[in-house]
């Protein structure tokens, strides 16, 4: 039964074929939640988010502009909502506050959809957005960034002007302007700081509480664009992934590479750290979901999921009932 399958899944993934996949690490099984007969490429999943703090609903945003609600208890899609059209670009961010849903598309149109009413609050955040992320502690604040679009933090209660706009770094050693390409954003818990990773393989930390609008810390990793970023439960580090399949743990105090996580062969599209356990789940173009342990950087689980994967969502509950996560390296 679909509800039994969806209740045991602890990791949710969205693929390019439009299929929502649920993975249960304890049972070592992966399930597809979709209708096989009505698959199409324009239902490709771009963004995923939890619909509520209890993690009983998953919101799935597709290329054709629809946001579907999937209930993890019942195992079916309960609602579909038209939130834009493909001409505006793909979804780059999806978030939920109290009773409203926030969506952002590539053209820069950030919309707040209120539950029950058709009126929306719209903000234009600039063109070429690559990512919109919500502050998990102050849920009315969102940050956006993109190609030639610097990091901006918006307060949804005062939507006319951003509360923080980042300034570009000084000219480089050739006295040329450094290009801006923010690919992913993360909010550091218990502080005001924001960390971003760029397409020019830089990781930058900004602090809006200080008058300095330039990055407080800048670190470089690799030679390829960084595509995904995630902050683990333990403070002071960040996990980044690039288009070559290199995952690295960077230290945020000095900006040095703590270590690399091996195994990926394709570009990293989705990365998420578990809220309490030292685990990180990564998915990408090589059609695998990998779960690494952050303590010893070893591969804990590897799952083959036949389509290219775009995003990953981890549930906060314990991924393995057995407790010890070092034992099995089985793949499905």
């Amino acid at each position: 039964q679909m509800s039994a399958k969806s209740q045991i899944c602890s990791i949710w993934l969205g693929s390019e074929t439009g299929i929502l996949k649920g993975v249960s690490l304890t049972k070592k099984q992966a399930f597809n939640f979709c209708e096989m007969s009505c698959l199409s490429r324009d239902q490709e999943v771009c963004v995923m988010a939890w619909g509520d703090p209890h993690e009983s609903e998953v919101l799935v945003g597709s290329v054709n502009g629809t946001v579907k609600t999937f209930s993890t208890d019942k195992g079916i899609f309960t609602a579909t909502r038209e939130c834009g059209d493909p001409s505006q670009g793909r979804f780059t961010g999806l978030a939920v506050t109290d009773s409203s849903m926030i969506t952002c598309v590539e053209s820069g149109l950030l919309k707040v959809w209120k539950e029950g009413s058709t009126e929306t609050v719209e903000i234009n955040v600039g063109n070429g957005i690559c990512r919109m992320q919500q502050n998990p502690s102050q849920r009315h604040r969102v940050a956006t960034g993109g190609k030639e679009n610097p990091l901006k933090v918006w307060d949804l209660e005062r939507p006319d002007k951003p509360i923080f706009t980042a300034k570009n770094v000084a000219h480089d050693w050739l006295d040329m302007r450094v290009p801006v390409w923010v690919r992913d954003i993360g909010f550091i818990p218990d502080s005001d700081k924001i960390v971003t990773c760029t397409g020019h393989h830089q990781v930058r930390v900004y602090d809006p509480s200080t008058p300095q609008r330039r990055p407080v810390l800048e670190a470089r990793f690799g030679e390829y664009p960084l595509t995904a970023l995630s902050l683990p439960a333990s403070q002071g580090t960040v996990v980044v992934g690039n288009t070559h399949g290199e995952l690295a743990i960077l230290d945020l105090r000095k900006g040095l590479v703590r270590g690399c996580l091996k195994g990926l062969a394709g570009a990293v599209r989705g990365l998420q750290c578990h809220p309490s356990l030292p685990l990180v789940a990564s998915c990408g173009l090589d059609r695998f979901l990998r779960v690494h342990s952050l303590e010893d950087r070893s591969l804990q689980h590897k799952v083959y999921l036949k389509s290219r994967l775009n995003c990953v969502l981890l549930s906060s509950r314990d991924l393995e009932v057995s407790g010890s996560s070092v034992s099995d390296r089985a793949s499905f």
Partner: protein, 336 residues
């Protein structure tokens, strides 16, 4: 029962001279002793069968009595027939570690993925292939001749001189002129050593390492030059998901309907992650016998990376990158 077993085991252990009696050891002692007894029994049986004891080195032909000699020969044949069957030798292909991405033909999801990917336009017969072959800048003799021969092998292929142009600027121009493939042969020290195969509208780009290039005049016992007929295509052993993508990439190079009148066939054979390209002309001598003549160039390819999207080595997203230290650690693991 238990006491009897204990006594027999005691006697066995005493015979063997062991003093310790551990249950597990007792059981293991019993088993080999039983085997030994059986073996002894067999030997005695054999000895009784052969009759009078012969010296160890003798052959059947030394027996002067014709009837006895004949019966001995038949017994020898019988024993040979009962010999254990021939063992299958272990090869690296036999011992290959099972790849979990191996495509199951009935898989719906993979079928949908392949039915709607970048090659779907070709496989649904909406476009015809048109290939542009070029090289890295300033190619030397061998590479130039290789390109010309490739252009005869692949139908609707055109060779253009590179003139130092940037590939990122060449690609939009190719798309506007209706090309479906861009093939760039990289040259190093007067010998072709790399191949970038880019599917044009917005398709994947594969980067290969080319080795062992043999031009037409270096081939022994070759046939006459290939004709303009469209060849058949054989793709061997592309089993994994990545192998499927690469196999489809090669298939989309050639037009759909082969002209069997031409009797030409191009083969891409994958073995141990190396792809061997051969071009033959075949002729059926009768129902069961075929003669083949190798024509055309011969080369080996090894996949280095597969990138989603057209050629953009710096900012593109890679679907598969060959990482030597992680992927080549086992001699029995292959990816294609």
């Amino acid at each position: 029962m238990d006491s009897n077993e204990a006594t027999t085991s005691e006697s066995v252990s005493k015979k063997k001279g062991k003093t310790k009696k551990v249950k597990r050891k007792v059981k293991s002692d019993e088993a080999p002793v039983q085997e030994m007894e059986q073996a002894e029994g067999e030997e005695t049986e054999k000895k009784s069968e052969s009759g009078p004891c012969f010296p160890p080195t003798f052959s059947v032909s030394e027996i002067k009595n014709k009837q006895r000699r004949h019966s001995m020969f038949l017994k020898l044949k019988e024993e040979k027939r009962k010999a254990p069957p021939k063992e299958v030798p272990k090869t690296i292909e036999n011992q290959r570690i099972y790849d979990e991405t191996t495509v199951n033909p009935e898989d719906e999801e993979v079928a949908f993925d392949e039915g709607t990917d970048e090659f779907s336009a070709y496989f649904n017969r909406l476009t015809n292939p048109k290939v542009l072959i070029t090289t890295s800048d300033r190619p030397r003799g061998r590479t130039v001749r290789f390109c010309e021969q490739l252009a005869t092998v692949i139908p609707h292929a055109h060779v253009y001189y590179r003139r130092g142009l940037a590939l990122k600027r060449v690609i939009p121009q190719c798309v506007s002129r209706g090309f479906t493939y861009l093939m760039v042969i990289n040259e190093d020290r007067k010998v072709p050593n790399g191949l970038v195969l880019c599917h044009l509208p917005d398709g994947p780009t594969a980067h290969f390492k080319v080795s062992n290039v043999r031009l037409r005049k270096e081939m022994k016992r070759r046939g006459k030059d290939p004709t303009e007929h469209v060849p058949e295509v054989i793709l061997n052993n592309f089993t994994t998901r990545l192998g499927h993508s690469i196999g489809r990439m090669f298939a989309a190079l050639f037009p759909h309907d082969p002209q069997f009148v031409g009797r030409q066939v191009a083969t891409f054979h994958n073995q141990r992650d190396f792809i061997f390209f051969r071009f033959h002309r075949y002729i059926f001598k009768n129902e069961k016998k075929v003669g083949i003549q190798e024509l055309g160039p011969r080369f080996t390819l090894k996949l280095r990376s597969l990138q989603k999207g057209t050629f953009d080595s710096k900012f593109g997203e890679y679907e598969w990158v060959h990482k030597r230290h992680e992927m080549d650690s086992s001699r029995r693991k292959f990816h294609l």
